[in-house]
């Protein structure tokens, strides 16, 4: 039988919360990156600036997510 009196309390470890936050931000990042890519490829006037922007975007944000992933799952 399910003990409904236990529903009032919820215990989550810091690790679980950190992993959940990581997945949440990763989801936002994936959606945002798709939107950004679409806008730059569809509406830009200069292919060089488009390439430069997308490379800088990936180069600055992707390593952060690698670090976050390592911290959330390995450390």
């Amino acid at each position: 039988m399910l003990d409904f009196t236990q529903l009032g309390t919820l215990q989550l470890s810091i690790d679980t919360i950190v992993q959940a936050v990581f997945y949440f931000i990763l989801g936002i990042y994936a959606i945002f990156s798709g939107i950004l890519y679409y806008h730059w490829t569809a509406y830009s006037t200069d292919i060089k600036m488009t390439t430069y922007t997308l490379v800088v975007y990936a180069g600055t944000t992707f390593p952060l997510f690698v670090i976050m992933g390592i911290l959330a799952f390995i450390v």
Binding site: V18, Y29, Y43, T45, I47, T61, L64, M68
Partner: protein, 193 residues
């Protein structure tokens, strides 16, 4: 790319593409930069404030991994915000051709306003430069009024060298009117196309 979507008319030449002044994007990105520094500033404050003054006994060394994760997450979100600002800046532009002016206003990611007015329909173009910084750096608001039945005013703030933009449009309009005066059929063919 944008120019494939706009579909320039045969023989139409782009005279200038104008984006907002660098000062506009610099001030907006400065906000992102300050947000980037915020967690480090908070850590600095915690480090310099004596433990007696803090409400809780905080030992930062115990939470190094968690703090690194939080700072990395904060930095990633701030960078995404900064790239959104940069995207809105770069994709927001005036394209001045020898036949028309195309205004692309990237309001948000899914809110985009594209206005086109033909030079022969242009009634008035004016600019205003307000403030010390705008005067020193030469940027201001350009406003164009057309003989359209619907929305007849086009206005963009923060454009560089507004006097130059006005001059380019005015010269292009004069040439266009001269061409149309000599060959009125070219107006009909361009409207049909």
């Amino acid at each position: 790319m944008l120019f494939e979507k706009i579909k320039l008319e045969p023989g139409e030449q782009i005279l200038a593409t104008v984006r907002k002044h660098w000062f506009i994007i610099a001030t907006e990105l400065l906000g992102s930069f300050l947000m980037l520094l915020l967690p480090f500033f908070i850590l600095f404050l915690i480090a310099i404030i004596p433990n007696e003054l803090l409400l809780a006994d905080i030992n930062i060394a115990q939470y190094t991994v968690l703090l690194t994760f939080v700072i990395a997450a904060w930095t990633a979100i701030t960078l995404m915000g900064a790239f959104a600002i940069w995207t809105h800046y770069y994709l927001d532009l005036w394209v001045i051709t020898d036949r028309r002016v195309i205004l692309i206003d990237q309001l948000r990611f899914f809110s985009r306003n594209v206005s086109i007015f033909r030079l022969e329909r242009l009634q008035d173009i004016e600019f205003s430069i307000n403030g010390i910084i705008a005067t020193l750096l030469n940027f201001g608001t350009v406003k164009a009024q057309t003989a359209s039945a619907f929305e007849s005013n086009f206005k963009t703030a923060g454009l560089p060298d507004p006097r130059g933009i006005q001059s380019i449009i005015q010269n292009a309009m004069d040439k266009r009117l001269a061409v149309l005066h000599n060959n009125p059929r070219s107006a009909e063919t361009s409207v049909v196309s």
